[in-house]
């Protein structure tokens, strides 16, 4: 009898991928999709589905929530900024209803940004494949799911078949060891990584985040980092599920229960990358060297520690941003602050912002938009809404809001916004708007000082 063969060590990603390949055609794998989330931008996919006379193949594995177009000052489609925007919300509603898809409607407290709702409801679980027609679907990897953003044609393909043709991505491990520097948060870790590897540094790769910093990080923080994976070009980000993950999932509405939970837990504990598993590339950062970060340009890779100066680089970006090389980042005055988005709108983000706002006053207009109705309720139960209001911040309902501005909430040309969102692209928050990306605490500090501020000096 031959000795049992030792299977080759595999990464977390390998294990999930291998378990979902229906069949292969050359380099292409037909990948089974466990969970599909749709939002109010998914209308092209539904139009194509209906015009072909097709039905949603697995409505029970499909979940819908309006987020991109929703008003944040009211909870009715009638509150939408324009009739066209209202139509986007109503179209999603009718598409979800017509297809028997679980929906979290605008007036449902469970409504929120799709990447906040998935983990919150237990839709996102370790070991699953999850897709959504939004690039920030990389977020869900924080729970150990392989999740990635897709286009509308792929959206249609999943609605019709519950599968996708995919090329196997390469793997990259990013280790961050040590303890984060003073004032540094998961957002700063994400920006430091992107500044290091570049906006295209992880194209074609799935990143696994490893090391002491991620082990010590909450699920909310991991969601922030995985969310920003796409800003380094990655297909997705992943963090190995651990007891922190399991504690986060336990009791969620759609999480397994009872004996099923025990079986799931056993499966999830086998997911982390095996000792000796090979990654196509490896990157390492020292957590202790990561400081509070802010972007100065028009790509998320244009990020520096807050105590740095505007570099002499990318003249077109500097012209758009209205900045001169050599200017101290802390000398840059802002006109507005936005706290929210799928990157930073969870309860921990709001707590960090409120801690900075407490007892202080905003000197520029500041918008706080929670990630979901449930986050909003939790924040209110903790009195955070009162802290924000007393500081002169506006406290709104859940949605994507000023991250992408397609609900009508945009800045004005040349307006400078300190924003906890994920993209500082030209025009992202409105035509001509200048965006500086930073953490929730840094954003709240900017709100009360009126300029980019080093929170380490705030006390």
């Amino acid at each position: 009898m031959s000795a049992p063969r030792n299977p080759a060590p595999r990464t977390l990603f390998d294990k999930i991928w291998d378990a979902h390949v229906v069949l292969s055609r050359g380099e292409q794998c037909l990948l089974y999709i466990d969970r599909h989330m749709v939002h109010d931008g998914s209308f092209h996919a539904f139009n194509m589905l209906h015009s072909r006379g097709l039905k949603v193949r697995r409505p029970s594995q499909t979940f819908g929530v309006p987020d991109h177009y929703v008003p944040t000052h009211g909870r009715s489609a009638a509150d939408a900024a324009t009739p066209e925007i209202r139509r986007m919300i109503e179209t999603l509603e009718s598409n979800l209803e017509a297809n028997g898809i679980t929906r979290y409607a605008l007036d449902d407290e469970r409504q929120g940004i799709v990447h906040v709702v998935g983990p919150e409801q237990g839709i996102t679980l370790p070991g699953l494949t999850l897709v959504c027609g939004d690039s920030h679907t990389s977020s869900h990897g924080a729970l150990g799911a392989f999740s990635f953003g897709i286009g509308q044609s792929e959206n249609l393909h999943v609605l019709a078949t519950q599968t996708l043709w995919q090329t196997r991505p390469r793997t990259m491990r990013i280790r961050v060891d040590g303890r984060l520097g003073a004032g540094a948060t998961p957002k700063d870790v994400a920006l430091a990584i992107i500044a290091r590897i570049g906006a295209g540094g992880a194209v074609g790769h799935v990143i696994e985040y490893a090391g002491e910093v991620f082990r010590a990080m909450s699920v909310e923080g991991r969601l922030t980092v995985c969310n920003m994976s796409i800003e380094a070009g990655a297909r997705s980000g992943l963090v190995a599920p651990d007891d922190t993950t399991f504690a986060f999932i336990a009791g969620r509405p759609l999480a397994p229960k009872g004996a099923e939970w025990d079986r799931a837990l056993a499966a999830w504990r086998a997911l982390p990358s095996d000792e000796g598993a090979r990654f196509d590339s490896e990157v390492a950062l020292d957590g202790g060297a990561i400081a509070p970060m802010v972007t100065w340009g028009t790509s998320p890779e244009d990020a520096l520690p807050i105590d740095a100066v505007v570099p002499d680089a990318k003249p077109q970006a500097l012209a758009y941003m209205g900045l001169v090389p050599g200017t101290r980042l802390t000398d840059i005055a802002v006109d507005r602050v936005f706290i929210g988005s799928c990157t930073n709108s969870r309860i921990e983000d709001l707590r960090a912002a409120a801690a900075m706002a407490r007892g202080r006053k905003a000197v520029v207009p500041t918008l706080v938009v929670p990630g979901s109705g449930l986050v909003k309720r939790q924040a209110e139960a903790e009195g955070l809404d009162r802290v924000f209001r007393e500081a002169g911040f506006e406290w709104r309902h859940a949605g994507c809001s000023m991250c992408v501005g397609i609900n009508g909430e945009t800045g004005r040309p040349q307006e400078r916004i300190a924003s906890t969102s994920n993209r500082n692209f030209e025009g992202r928050q409105g035509k001509g708007v200048r965006t500086h990306l930073l953490s929730p605490a840094m954003a709240a500090a900017a709100a009360v000082t009126g300029r980019l501020t080093d929170i380490r000096a705030m006390g």
Binding site: V22, Q28, F148, G151, L156, G200, E426
Partner: protein, 205 residues
Amino acid sequence: MDRFTTLTAVAAPYEPANVDTDQILPARFLKMPRGNGKHYGGFLFHDIRFADDGAENPGFVLNRPEYRAARILVGNTNFACGSSREGAVYAFLDAGFRAVVAPSFSDIFFNNCLKNGVVPVRLPDADCAGLRALLAARPGTEFTVDLEAQELRVPGGAVHRFEVDGFFREMLLKGVDEVGLTIGLLAEIEGFERRHHAANAWAAR
């Protein structure tokens, strides 16, 4: 999807690296309907292409007379990064583009191209830089993108080999409907699904 075999057309250079899909299709156009005579061609690079008063920005490459007929774009690294919006590909397609050449593409845009009959051609960084320089020096130059031979040909003899995954190349060459093809595999999908859900009941819904 319209099939793609060979295209000979004017190519235009687009210099910036990390061009994001917010530049290619500003978000406010995402809610626009498409089909029944409505198209996205006019939205392509809208806020760079047009001034606030709606007049064309004469400095923008696609507004220059020599590039008006362009159907091939030669871009730079990490082309079309950012948002997953397929509208970015609709904008290229509806403006007449059937091929985009770049050293690297965002994964989502790359896939979106394949689903819409736009050929994403990956060539080495230095080759792309050379092609952009050539197009800038000789505006109006026509390139040939030959998907069957997997070659990009430049007048004067230069031939650049590229590769498109065989599965998608076949689909593009024949104009195969991908959803239809997969629906033909439904028995396999159902079999997989039964086994997958039996082994991982916690994952089933």
